[in-house]
């Protein structure tokens, strides 16, 4: 293998590793974020007892303690369960949650020497479709879990999850159509790049401004796709029994992990489509250029770092918003969620497509 091929391999490995690190660490940290954020919202302190040598550092050891607890618990296998599918299901859930992030760009291109490295794990010209495909494949893990548990309650939970997922996917797909029409591409990198432009020469052309209705619809459907409160009727930990009722130990933990990973993916997707992805307002390839005439030159590496940092910050803010929603709203009843999905989100998404089309027609092309 030549040095150039080795370098190529290293670059690809690095891109994938960065995305994996980003999403896995963020997903693992979300258990802590969820505890602490909910505690602070509810005038509590939250888990702060796990300590190593007396150090507690705001309860940051609790995810670690959780992982140890789950790994050392009994790995229960129901007597009449389908052994293969039962064991496969949590891995399917986690795998597609991880894979979905691959085509989300976390920065523009990094130039090292004569190489141009695209800052996303996989460059796909159908990135949006890929993310949706991975997200909807994730529900197969849930359905497998429900079916293979040999437990009717688990089966019903899996069915609810499947119904909810279809509802959410349709609404997501339809709500995203306006964005795709507006930016004219299915490639997430192209969409993010297009959001770097300025509206009326001073407003960043982020998707949330050009497609506000789609943003609300997509966020709602996206939260439904993560199967978390207020759309947690597949699980319903507290009273209705969900698809993972027969799971224990780390397999159960993987389902919880998959939910957090999907939260990160939805946050990343929302960031890419509506919040300008890695775009920093008025930051261009050579540095800041403000609309009032001021300019600040920056080296290429600083620009890239700013972009990656901006993407991470936006994802974290989106996760904060999703957590805020999760700890504010009560759960929808099953029929309410279905009604909201099919009679609320879906028609409004269609309306958004029509409106976007009308605006594009009246404007005579994309502004």
């Amino acid at each position: 293998m030549t040095a150039a091929a080795l370098a190529d391999f290293g670059i690809v490995f690095g891109r994938v590793a960065f995305v994996m690190m980003f999403i896995l660490n963020l997903g693992g940290l979300l258990t802590w974020v969820e505890r602490k954020q909910s505690a602070i919202m509810q005038d509590r302190i939250g888990a702060n007892r796990a300590s190593i040598f007396g150090f507690r550092i705001l309860g940051l050891f609790h995810p670690l303690a959780d992982a140890i607890k789950m790994l050392t618990k009994e790995d229960f296998l129901p007597a009449r369960a389908d052994r293969f599918l039962f064991k496969l299901a949590p891995f399917v859930s986690v795998f597609f949650g991880l894979a979905a992030f691959a085509s989300i760009p976390f920065g523009d291109t990094l130039r090292v020497g004569d190489r141009v490295i695209p800052l996303q794990a996989v460059t796909l010209n159908v990135g949006v479709l890929y993310v949706f495909a991975m997200l909807s494949l994730g529900v197969y893990g849930v359905m497998m879990a429900g079916w293979s548990s040999a437990n009717n309650y688990a089966l019903l939970g899996g069915q609810r999850a499947a119904a909810l997922m279809i509802t959410a996917e349709v609404a997501i797909g339809a709500s995203i159509m306006g964005v795709i029409m507006w930016y004219g591409s299915l490639d997430l990198q192209t969409i993010v790049r297009a959001q770097g432009g300025l509206l009326f020469d001073w407003i960043p052309k982020w998707g949330i401004l050009t497609q506000p209705l789609a943003f609300i619809l997509f966020l709602t459907a996206g939260i439904a796709a993560t199967k978390r409160i207020p759309f947690d009727m597949p699980e319903g930990e507290s009273e209705i029994i969900g698809y993972f009722v027969e799971y224990s130990g780390m397999k159960f933990g993987m389902f919880a992990m998959a939910d957090f990973l999907e939260t990160v993916v939805i946050a990343g997707l929302t960031t890419s489509l509506f919040l300008g992805g890695w775009q920093v307002p008025y930051l261009y390839d050579t540095g800041f250029r403000f609309p009032w005439g001021a300019a600040l030159g920056l080296p290429h590496v600083a620009v890239v770092l700013l972009q990656v940092g901006a993407f991470s910050l936006k994802v974290v803010v989106m996760i904060f918003v999703m957590m805020l929603i999760r700890w504010t709203l009560p759960r929808f009843r099953y029929d309410q969620a279905m009604r909201l999905g099919w009679l609320g989100l879906f028609p409004l998404s269609i309306l958004n497509i029509v409106l976007t089309g009308a605006v594009l027609l009246a404007w005579g092309g994309r502004p």
Binding site: M41, D43, R44, I216, T328
Partner: protein, 179 residues
């Protein structure tokens, strides 16, 4: 239901504003606390084993036997508490008191706290004010039923709680507990 409520989004936003306000207000107080403003409290939590909420002086907690000046129990083994106890958790064996002016004293005074319902009748019934429930101790526990039986010596050793209700004597450790 009003039309505004049927249009779910506005209500969601008002709810998010409420919880978000709580988050940021509490977060600000937590940061102020960390920076040295000790009166800023972002949470109502009482960190229980280290901190205690003040107990009411009327709290009925673990019993204690009141001592005379010479250290002997004030109890005269009249059996009033044993008789009134609805849970029948008190067991007294009477004995002669060396002082001829005092008729009797208990040679055994056991309370089975596993049975006790903390009604306080024994305290009310006692004519000698010899039993009180003012130690402020709530955390007695044991690994066996036998360990819940507190003897005369254990009950005599206890002190009343401080003015804020915080116990002054340590939690008695039954025989089957090492910690």
């Amino acid at each position: 239901m009003k039309a505004g409520q049927r249009f779910y989004l506005r209500e969601v936003l008002s709810g998010l504003v409420l919880t978000g306000h709580h988050f940021f207000a509490n977060m600000g107080k937590h940061i102020a606390h960390a920076l040295g403003r000790k009166d800023a409290r972002g949470a109502v939590t009482i960190q229980y084993p280290e901190e205690r909420r003040p107990y009411s002086p009327r709290l009925r907690s673990l019993h204690r036997l009141v001592r005379r000046e010479d250290g002997s129990p004030r109890c005269v083994a009249c059996m009033m508490c044993e008789t009134v106890c609805p849970a029948r958790c008190i067991y007294i064996v009477a004995d002669e008191h060396p002082n001829p002016e005092i008729e009797k004293m208990p040679s055994r005074f056991d309370i089975d706290l596993g049975k006790c319902v903390f009604c306080g009748f024994c305290v009310e019934a006692c004519p000698e004010d010899a039993i009180r429930m003012d130690t402020g101790i709530l955390e007695f526990s044991s690994y066996s039923r036998l360990g819940m039986i507190y003897t005369k010596e254990m009950l005599l050793a206890l002190e009343p709680a401080g003015p804020d209700g915080v116990p002054r004597s340590p939690v008695p450790i039954p025989a089957d507990r090492t910690v």
